[in-house]
Amino acid sequence: MLKKSCLLALVAACWLNQMTAQAAEPDKAGGSAPFGWDSSLKASDEELLLFWEEKQLIVESATRSDKPIAQVAENMSVISAKEIEDMNAHTLQDVLLRVTGVYIDPYHTDWGHYGSAFIQGSKITHVSLLLDGVPLNLLSGNTPFLWSVPVQIIDRIEIIKGPASAAWGSALGGVVNVITKTAAGAGGRGMMPSGVVSASYGEGESTDDNVQMNGSLGRWGYYVSAGRQDTEGLADDRAYNNNNVFAKASLATGAGLNLGLSMGYTDLDLNYGEMPTLDMLPTNDSRLFFVRGSGDLNLSQGLDLRMQVYHTQMNFYNKTMVLDGWSGYGAPGDLISGYDVFEKSTGLDGRLLLKRGVANAVLGVEVVRSDLDQAVTAGEVLAPLFPSYTGQSDLDRQAIYANDTLTLGTVSVTPGLRLDHDDITGSFVSPSLGLAHTIAERTVWRTTVARGFTRPSLSDLESGGIRLQPNPDLKPEKVWSFQTGVESGLPRYVWLKAGVFMHRQEDEIVYYSNPVWNIGEPHSETLVKNMGQVSRQGIELEAESLPVHNLTLKAGYVFTRMRTDGRWSDADYDGVDDTFTEGGVFSNWEGNFGLKYDDRNSLMAQLLCHFARYDSNISGDDQPKGYDPSYIWDLHVRKLLYATERTRTELFFSGHNLFDGTQSNWDVSKNPGRWIEGGLRFKF
């Protein structure tokens, strides 16, 4: 079905290409010029981009308003589409793995894995994933739906490390804001269409095929992408299939109003791989559909209104089947348990952006309505222990927020405040204060103090889960955070960034379960409570050299020390918290190292290494996990085969995990060993 869709998309793209090739000649910008203005002159931002990189001009995620990265007080990383292409990333997780301070859980790592992201030692539920500002965290478990975002549609990723609640609400650990490629040519400049066709093949019969096209039709600009990824699995038969389409259109009406519409669909099936020691074969079937409309209107002098309305539907179905049949769960292929979640959200957010004098201010409101349907199905053998059930919940959320970036010479001060309210957990106020100071040329010192929170998941609050008893009295996890750091390009041959962070979390959500349960024994349920405090402190270091003999060196390192306070709990389920568990101290460190060769002629090669040692209870339970540090080396090579004035044909090759490293914290799900792939990319 999807092959037909891709073919249709390709035919449509060719038809559009033909149409636009016959379109009007490129506009010489704007009709008659007032007072003798030369028609060949272009908009200021385009001219400035000849001299500066885009991120030096503007980023948007820190305060939901446009400003240069030198004015951003938060600890922010920006990854461009070019960097994503150079690392031959197949998934968003592949990209985030290379970001200092972001850790990707190697659980179920494989080609197309669905590992989750942690920022500065946070939990996965603390990280908020956004796609053009549309939230993509599963409400049932607060998990960011990372694997639903096709990497080819990404223009850049803006990552805020540390609490971002003053701008984005429930985001105690940070924000990953994926900004998609623009529909170029909006505004009637009659651009010739451009695009990319790429295909790759590798071990495990892994394929990654994608078609993209970008152009304009009159005042409309468009961007479309269709892709398919497929593999039989690189280890333990962890098969994976991902089909996705994405379309975006924009219209500059010429009356101070810009409109946009985008929609996307991702259909993903994956097999977690055989687990013979547990006699299990878990699988997952996920789907994401979203549609987003946006409007950007200049109201009056210095006042702009930006609005977006969106609707998302996320379906997540986990099914676990019997593998061999030795455990007594049933015959091979029998269902052990199934967990089916369907969520939909409809949201509206609008913000006023006001520029007056030195102030660049934002006042925004958000309203979101979400519904969750979930069904837990027990197989025949487990049914007596926990009967199948269905649950529904819904959540209404509102928020109002404001912040201002006050630029006073070389200093930018950014106070922010946000009030979030939902009909289950109530209200939370998130203040923040940031300062960015350009203390010397190419050197910026940043400091932030912020309060943040993460809302409990709907499963924890109302609908429950597999043997999970919901707790409607759960409170949001909260944090006070302080970060400070310096970023400098002043040293002659290298760019350096160093920072420290301190996060003090309260009301940590902790799960208590009976650790031993077997068929025939009375079962116990998993309880969830707020308890205890967690401190996370650490240091981040990054460096990147200038090209020397076409070679660039890049390195990043994060050390995090986590301390959990001792806590009282109700271990014997008698309703009294009379069992004291000592707290613990855990240390994690992880980082990246890269060496890149680019002769600017036809050859680019990158050797990347990811290393990690994670010594903490990152899954949320009390069991510390540790394993010897390991290093995963990848090599990516790209060779330009042929180039004309309009086209480029490239051959690329990747060798993953070159030295068969191990980096998994769970014995039943190790990362794949060495594997290779290659492909062709045609740009026009």
Partner: protein, 301 residues
């Protein structure tokens, strides 16, 4: 189940947020005195901020700053309200607004690549583009072996930045990015290719093709910006935004002191930063004199 909300507390918090928003805006609004000089520029952009810093360093007086969107269609009343005598306009949008003011108000502009054709008195300014003769001066002094320098550009940009009659320059006219790439790829006998900042031609693809041409044909690229040198251009002469600001500040001070602007010709920045890539020089067998390296603001690698 759930929590009962204190409605009054909620409304109080919302009220605080809105008040907070306006307090910070009003509290940091421009000072309550009229300014003789107002500046129109989008200070969300770092280069604009750098120019503003340079202006304030030179002027030593308050300068009220407005975004172009803030004053669109209303600049005349803003100027009247501020009792401004000079408007500094940064960028195309700002200039479009400023040149509609009565000629009694002096307009000083920058942050455009080449100056617009303005039929308005009492207007002057500077522009970002580096004239070709600045490159020829560097080449003549430090790289005399570069006898032929090709330039491929649109007519408008070439007219302003080009050096007429120089024996070293071989100029080619291009109208579209494809035309630009075609012309570049036909250059075989040049000693260097000089890029001019023509945004209509220098698309990302065109620049990429130009680098490819440069490295394959061993013809060094003379770039527009520091980022081009970092990416492999041999050297670039680039305006310094703060120096531009100081230059605008001086022009503004002259106006305030009674000097007539008249129809002064807009001028390029009077000082440029030199960026050099010695790795490119080594690969192409070009010797960069030590004196040139000492002059450079930044030498890559």
């Amino acid at each position: 189940m759930g929590r009962h909300e204190n409605g009054f507390w909620l409304m109080k918090t919302i009220f605080c947020i809105v008040v907070f928003f306006w307090v910070f805006l009003l509290g940091f609004d421009r000072p309550g005195y009229a300014g003789e000089v107002i500046l129109i520029g989008d200070n969300r952009l770092q280069p604009v901020n750098d120019v503003i810093i340079g202006v304030k360093q030179k002027l030593n007086m308050p300068v009220n700053t407005f975004a172009p969107s803030e004053v669109k269609g209303q600049l005349a009343s803003v100027v009247a309200g501020e009792k401004a005598r000079v408007v500094i306009a940064l960028g195309r949008e700002a200039i479009e607004e400023a040149i509609q003011l009565p000629e009694s108000i002096a307009v000083v502009f920058d942050l455009v690549i080449i100056p617009p054709t303005i039929h308005r008195g009492n207007t002057t300014g500077t522009y970002m583009g580096t004239p070709v003769n600045e490159y020829l001066r560097v080449i003549g002094r430090y790289l005399p072996s570069m006898r032929t320098v090709s330039v491929v550009s649109g007519r408008e940009v070439m007219k302003v930045l080009g050096e007429a009659g120089s024996a070293r320059i071989v100029a080619y006219d291009a109208e579209t990015p494809i035309d630009f790439i075609n012309k570049v790829q036909q250059l075989n006998s040049s000693d260097a290719l000089l890029l001019l900042p023509d945004a209509s031609l220098l698309t990302a693809s065109a620049i990429e093709q130009t680098y490819l041409f440069s490295f394959r044909k061993n013809i060094p690229l003379l770039g527009i910006s520091e980022k081009h040198v970092r990416q492999g251009a041999l050297f670039a002469l680039v305006f310094d935004a703060r120096e531009v600001g100081r230059q605008l500040g001086e022009q503004t001070a002259n106006v305030l002191a009674g000097k007539a602007v008249g129809k002064s010709q807009p001028a390029p920045c009077r000082a440029f930063d030199l960026y050099v890539n010695t790795d490119t020089a080594r690969r192409m067998g070009i010797t960069i004199p030590d004196e040139m390296l000492r002059l450079a603001k930044m030498v890559y690698p």
